[in-house]
Amino acid sequence: MLKIDNIKVVYSGVVLALNEVSMVVPEGNIVALIGSNGSGKSTTLKSISGVLATEDGKVTEGTIMLDGKRIDRLVPEQIARIGICHVLQGRSVFAQLTTEENLLMGAYLRKDRQKIKEDLYRIYHYFPMLETLRQQKSGYLSGGEQQMLVIGRAFMARPKIMLLDEPSLGLAPKLISNIYDIIRQLNREEKTSLIIAEQSAVAALAIADYGYVLQNGRIASEGSSEVLAGQQAVKEVYLGLNGGGTFISRHDMPSSAHGSSSEG
């Protein structure tokens, strides 16, 4: 179980990116992290995986614990070693490596060759498209294929928790639902916990067990995904829906929509 307790994240010593953020990710759960641009979704994931330091960011207050062990002072490769795999935003494939080599890089820390091979075929089972492209340089794959590849690569690490940063970014709706179906399947069959940061809340809330809404670096709302999807504020801001069918700008929101919390 991953537990984030009241963290504060500061970039370059001055820019406050997160404040008083607390989250819990129980084993085997999918947690959605939704919010608009700059709300702190990526920063939250980066502070968990430790890559925050590469951008001169720091968790200055609070703690992040994985199974009772404090991890917020560790470097990224140590965090990867204890079972957290971060899939960065923007499909960061190793462009010069082939699809299969990319997948094998996911298993970098593993020594069990036989199991790695089995997992490779398991990935090809989940993402049949990747098998047909296994000898292709990954830099030449399409956006959707690259997104599948980085998710598959993260799975090859057999993490306890996988952090996905905007898997839907720039993809066609059909492809998004396809990828989300597979993510759900991976979660059910392989018991991998996931945190999914998403701007398009519909897709993420559809498969998540629980959700957090971030706004300006704070948790504005949280709840089970059904409750959250039904919440008026979330509907208006992140799903772009409202009862009357007219567009509502974020700035026109009633102040009561902020900071409301339906359950703890």
Binding site: V51, T54, P76, E77, A80, L88, S92, V93, Q96, Y108
Partner: protein, 316 residues
């Protein structure tokens, strides 16, 4: 394999020593390809790694009386250790700054070797022995050709297999995306140190062999210009590719040699000064042309040619 015999029959030993020099350079630049090509750490200090290998062999054989093979092994290892020492300050840096650190390392290494007595100062050392295997002594260009050919093939195999291993893929991973690499559990600083270590091993081997082949070692064998030539060879050959590196070395050295021959033959009225300047001009133009029109290097030209040959008559 029969090339050296043919050349020695015609009495054209100039070309044979050129080929031997090319083989040594291939070994050295394969090392730079690990550091710069595969791992993306631009190193301008590669000459200095070669220098460390060369001087270690020369000092151990002429001053300490070691056998050449033992000294060569020591030279390779010491060069590798120096590689680690350079990587430690360089590992926290990226791109341009790594280049500056390695540049500084070159001048520091040069200064130290120049100031020591044991290395013969600016005069260098003479009388480095030739290698022997059993009763066979490598004292001719032809025999050296076979020896160097063996080492070059060995290094090519090591380099080509490196890139297919988990170990070598980590180099490409930190070059392509170091943050992603670290979140997959790759220790980025340690991987950079490994790259410098392995690259310096190749350079040490090349330096040791070169010293023995020339039987002397001198400061001016290892210049900063060579370091820059090596980087150019990688760019022209195809960054990160073993075959490309070999092609890049041969291509640039061949241009240099052909200009030398033309200059020396007197066919074209070129003074030796002018032809020397011309080499640098052509080198510069070649790099600019490659970066603008063929950034993936000679290896990409070769792959395209091969693909077109297979597809004939449906080429592009």
């Amino acid at each position: 394999m029969i090339l050296p015999i043919a050349l020695s029959q015609t009495g054209n030993l100039n070309w044979l020593s050129f080929i031997n020099f090319t083989l040594i350079t291939i070994i050295a630049v394969l090392g730079l390809n690990v550091i710069t090509g595969m791992s993306g750490q631009v190193s301008l200090g590669h000459s200095a790694f070669i220098m460390v290998g060369g001087y270690t062999v020369a000092v151990l054989t002429t001053q300490a009386g070691w056998s050449l093979w033992l000294a060569l092994a020591a030279g390779v290892l010491i060069s590798g250790v120096v590689g680690i020492a350079v990587a430690i300050p360089a590992m926290r840096l990226k791109g341009f700054y790594v280049a500056v650190v390695t540049l500084a390392f070159f001048f520091i290494a040069q200064y130290i070797i120049k100031s020591l007595d044991i290395t013969g100062g600016i005069h260098g050392l003479v009388g480095v022995p030739y290698p022997t295997i059993g009763g066979l002594k490598f004292n001719s260009d032809v025999s050296w050709y076979y020896l160097l050919f063996f080492f070059t093939v060995l290094c090519i195999l090591v380099s080509a297999n490196l890139i297919r291993s988990r170990f070598g893929r980590a180099f490409l991973a930190i070059r392509d995306n170091d943050i992603t690499a670290s979140s997959l559990g790759i220790n980025v600083p340690v991987t950079k140190i490994r790259a410098f270590f392995i690259g310096a091993l190749f350079a040490g081997l090349a330096g040791g062999l070169w010293t023995s082949y020339m039987s002397v070692v001198r400061m001016d064998q290892f210049t900063i210009w060579d370091s820059i030539w090596y980087v150019g060879m990688i760019i022209i050959g195809g960054v990160g590719s073993t075959a490309g590196t070999v092609m890049g070395v041969i291509f640039l050295l061949l241009i240099r040699q052909v200009l030398h021959v033309i200059g020396a033959s007197g066919l074209v009225p070129l003074s030796s000064n002018l032809s020397a300047a011309l080499i640098y001009a052509i080198y510069g133009v070649a790099i600019i042309l490659f970066i603008s029109f063929q950034p993936y290097g000679l290896i990409a030209v070769w792959r395209k040619a091969r693909a077109n040959y297979k597809r004939w008559p449906f080429g592009v």
